[in-house]
Structure formats: structure tokens, C-alpha cells
Amino acid sequence: MSLTKALLHSIFGYVQVLDPLTGAKNIPLNIFPLACGDCGGCILELLALKGAAFNLSSYGFSLVHHLESANALLVTGVLNRSMLPSLEQSWATMREPKAIIMLGACASNKGIFEKNYTILNKAINTHDCILNIEGCPPAPKDIVESIIKLLQNGSNPSGLR
């Protein structure tokens, strides 16, 4: 038994391996996170999943380092003008099939930030958005549960095109 797993067992009790539950048999979800106008909360909660406190490899999705290997662009923070070119470029770089996941209240334009010279008061293209994870910021557990629920709903998440 690995040290990490031993630690998890001793602290949280038995951690259920969720692979059989996800249903992501055909298309594994490879997520590339991109922080726009973020206070740091959402992105840090997401990146915490990569750490020892969570067993990311057992959830049926992964966080990837390169856009070329991603099929889901996860956006955190409010959509601002300074990150818009980067967001568009990231989306264009990704290969099909691809989709967007919005993480946190700001990304879906339900946060506290109002329109100003740098903030656009609109949400990211909802046509491509397959999942909207609520919370300010959402806890890692909520992020995992939302993504697993999405994967359970079908081996090919409906919005993935």
C-alpha cells in the first residue's frame, strides 16, 4: 500500500475508488484549467485535487498540462478582457471533440463582479458548456461530485462535440 493511500486511510477512512461508477468508458475527460479574472479560490480548489488529499486518478478524469491533449477547457473566474485573447486561443488550439466546464460563480457570471473597463458582463459560450459547477469557491469534493455526475449521465457527455 502506498504511503499516500495509507495516510488517506488513516485520516479519512476508506476512500472509495470511483472508476467503475464513472461510466467514462469511451471518452476520458481530460481537463485543462484556465484562470481568467480569478481571486485564486476556484483554481486552487481545483488544483488541490491533484494533491495527496484526493485520489484524482480514481475519479475517471484528469487534469492535463497541454491543450493539445485536453477535451475540456475548465474556466475559472470572471471573464475579463485581458484574458479573452488567451481564452479564445486556448479554445482554438484544442482538438475536437471539446467542451467547456465553468467552475465557480464568477465563471457563469453569477459572481459579485460587475461590468467595468476590464470585466465583460457575459458568461462564456453556453452552447459549448457541458457543466457549470456552482459555489464561491466550490470545494474539491463538490467539483469531483459534479464531474462524476456528468460522466455518469452518459459515456459521451451530451455537450461534447
Partner: protein, 514 residues
Amino acid sequence: MRSRDSTTVHSDCKIIEAIRKLPQEGKFFFRIEEKEWFELVRSLPSKKLSFLMLWCHANDVQILFLENGYRPIGIKVALSLNRYQAISPFLPAAIPYERMLVDFLGKEGMNAVDLRPWIDRGYWEYTWPWLDKPILSHAKNTNDNFEELSDSSKMKGQIDLKITSNDCDRALTPVWHLSLTNDKIIQAESLYGYTHRGILSSLRGKNISECMPSINRINALDNVAHQIAFSHAIEDMAGRVPSRPVLQGRIILLELSRMSAYLLYLSQLFEGLQVKLLSSRLEIARELLMRWCHDCFGHRWLMECIDFGCVKSVKPKHRQDLKRLPYKIKQLYDEAKALFQEFPDLVKRLEKIGILTYEQALQFNVGGVIGRASGRDLDIRRYADEYQLEWLPPCNGTGGDVLTRVRLYFHEIDNSLRIIDTLLYGLYGDDTFKNCKESFTEKNSGEGVGVCEGINGDLWYYVSVEKGKIDDIFIRDPATNQAFALQQIMKNTLWHDWDLIQSSFGILVTGVDF
């Protein structure tokens, strides 16, 4: 730096005296004429007067200093044809603030060291958005305003790199431009502003009771310090001091957030070194701490826990849990600390890299752990009555390197654990966290300054309130000065140390970009 002209400068002792003789405007500021300002600038730097922040309101440039390291004292000087005498030639700590003035308002400091954009990356809707009548921006894309080396100073084999935050492990790092020869960084510049949300401009004109949600989300990691500093500023404006239990309740929240941030900084640093034995323990300890915060205070990040004159109540069913921190957190942390000392070659790897000298820390006004690791004895908590002196034994390093910073992060976590335990166990009854919000805003006009020792150092708020609405506000987040200092020390370091040095400074982007 320029040398002083001895015929016109004020001596260290006389400079404050000279300022106090000027006509006073409001609680903190003294009005100075342009000619006198020229003379005063030449008296800088002064040991008695340290630079804090610089911004613009109406037709004035406002510069806030600290008298003897703690007491705010300000200067107002009228702009002359949109220009003012810059102080950056004498006080390098002012460079980012002078650059911000150009970003937001197009006001130029005469003789300023650097006037390139600090956070305006050329994508905003308006050029100089804080002007009364801002000018529609034409896409100028100053994105790549890297200070290029001239062709003659370029070296053989030089490689120029642009490192973006487009990587999941670099989600909260600035864009870097580096020039390297033979693995040595000869030029380094970090570009900020990509996560800018225009929070300061949106706070202006708001009712003070509506500001807290935005304040909470300036910087998630340091949100407790922001809540406290803003509350202190409003309380200072109102001339009221919260009760001692409220102040001590805030200490608990602040030290919890400090622990959480430093556990994250250390785990990221060790993760980068692939020392997973340490990083995994620190990550789990942090996650357990955040869960405990959620159970007791209703929020993992402790957002919305502080307001003017009060702290949030604890859920009644968790009052018993609040008597002490979960044992597992301390156990994991202690194990990590012991492993840090024992792990082969780890200390050696961190030694003598990324050195910020005492002189640099002073020059760029770097405080917090980074400043203390370079020998500065600066901790704002010591000035706060609610902290007992024995809780904060001076702990400074003189190395200024990554190792000293890491050791101080550990020391600070030890300190926070002791403080939290003392307060939870010894001083508190069930009514400590009672929501005792009183009418702290009966007086609804005036000025206030608030301060809090946040995760990156001393965080300052200046507010001016007019009939309950924010007329003027400026925030001095220590991350700004640290970001500037970080790019200075990157020069002449080795490429393979670059990531490690950056990690030792923690996360600065959200503190710079708000």
C-alpha cells in the same frame, strides 16, 4: 540611485517636522506646493519616513508614508499639467505605483525610473479607465512590453523565453520573459494584469456596507487580512474600536488563514522538488484545516467571517470543536517539519539561491516572511494591542535565500498554532464569536487607515468616506512590492532554480492584479 544635494535636503529628524508644518488636509495628509515637493523629494530616502503607497485622487497625487515604521503620514501635491515629480529615483519601492498611475489615469511622474504599463496589458475597454471621462481604447496590445536588451548588449547564444500561465501548474503565476545564456538568467521580467478585475474602481461610490463581498474576493488566500484591514479602516474612520473578544476572534481567523497559505506554499515548493513525502503531508494537513474551518465557520476559506465591529458566529453545534485544532493537523505538520530537516540534501538544495539582500528588501519595502528572511524586523502584529508580545518572538533570518524563507514559513506556522491554541483553549468562552455587530458606521464621513499583517506582509487600506459612500480608496497589497523584488533577484540566477525561487515567494498574482 541618485545622490542627495546636501544644501537643500532635510535631515532625517527634520523631515517629519517639515511635513508637519505644512497645511493639514484631513486626518493624514499635508498639502505641499510643487516647489517644496521638489525639495522634499531630494531628502528621500529617510530612515524616519518609509514609503507606503502612491495614488491619485481628483487633481492630487497622494503619497502615504509611515512615520517611524507605523504611523501613517501623507503628502498631497497638485498635478501640474498631468505630471508630478516622481519619487522612484530615490525610493524604488514606488516604481510599480508610478506605473499604475499611468495605467489608470495617464499621470506621468517626471524623472520616473520606469513608466511602462504595470498591469494594463492593452486589452481594456478604456485607456486610463479611472479618468472622469475615460478614452476608448484602441487595440494597442502592449502585451509584449518586455524591456528588451539592446542588440549590442545581447550575448552570444542568448535565448529569449516567454513563459505563460497556460499550464495547469502555472495557473497563478505571472507571464515571464526571460533571457538566458548558458542556463543563466541575464534578464527577467514578470508581466501582471491578466487576472485584473478592476475592484478598486468598482468600490468607489459604493455604500460602505456593500463593499465586503468584493473585499472578500480580492485574494482568496489572503481574504481574511483584507477583511480585517478594510474593517479597521472603516472603524478608524468611525472612531470606534471593536471589543477585545472581537479583535481576538479576528486573530484566530487570521492565523488560520496564515497557516493554510503557508502549508500551501510549502507543499507547492516541495512538490516542485518532487519531495512527495513532505508535500503530501502538508497537502493533507491543509485540506483537514480547511474542512475544520468550514465546519466551524461555515466557509473553507473563511470568507464573509468579518464585518465592521464584529466576527461571524460559530455554528452552535461546533462550539465544542472550536476548543482546539484537530490533532491530525499538528501530527502531519510535525512529521513534515521533521522530514524537512532529515531529508537527504534538501537543505543543501535550497541554500544560497534566490537571495534577496537586506538592502534590496529595504529598497523595495518588502515585508512579511520574505522581508524577515532578509533580515528586516518588521511585523505589524507587534503594534496591535490584541496580540501579546510573547506570541511573536522576533524571528528573522539574514540569509535572504530560499532556505531561510522556507524555515520562516515553518516558524510562522508554529507561531500560528501556538497563538490559535492559546486563544481557543485559554481565553475563550462560548460567547467569543457572538455576532456583536454594533452601529460602527454612525459617523459616515471621514478618513481611515487600516492595517493587517497578512500572508505576504503588511496590508494597508486607505479609505475616505462621504455620507456613507466610498469617495476614495486605495490598497497597498504587499504582493506588489514582492512581485517587483522577485523579478530583480531573478537576474543572474540559474534557470533550474527559477521555479523554486518563484515558489518560495508564494502566490502573488491575485495580490497584484485585483
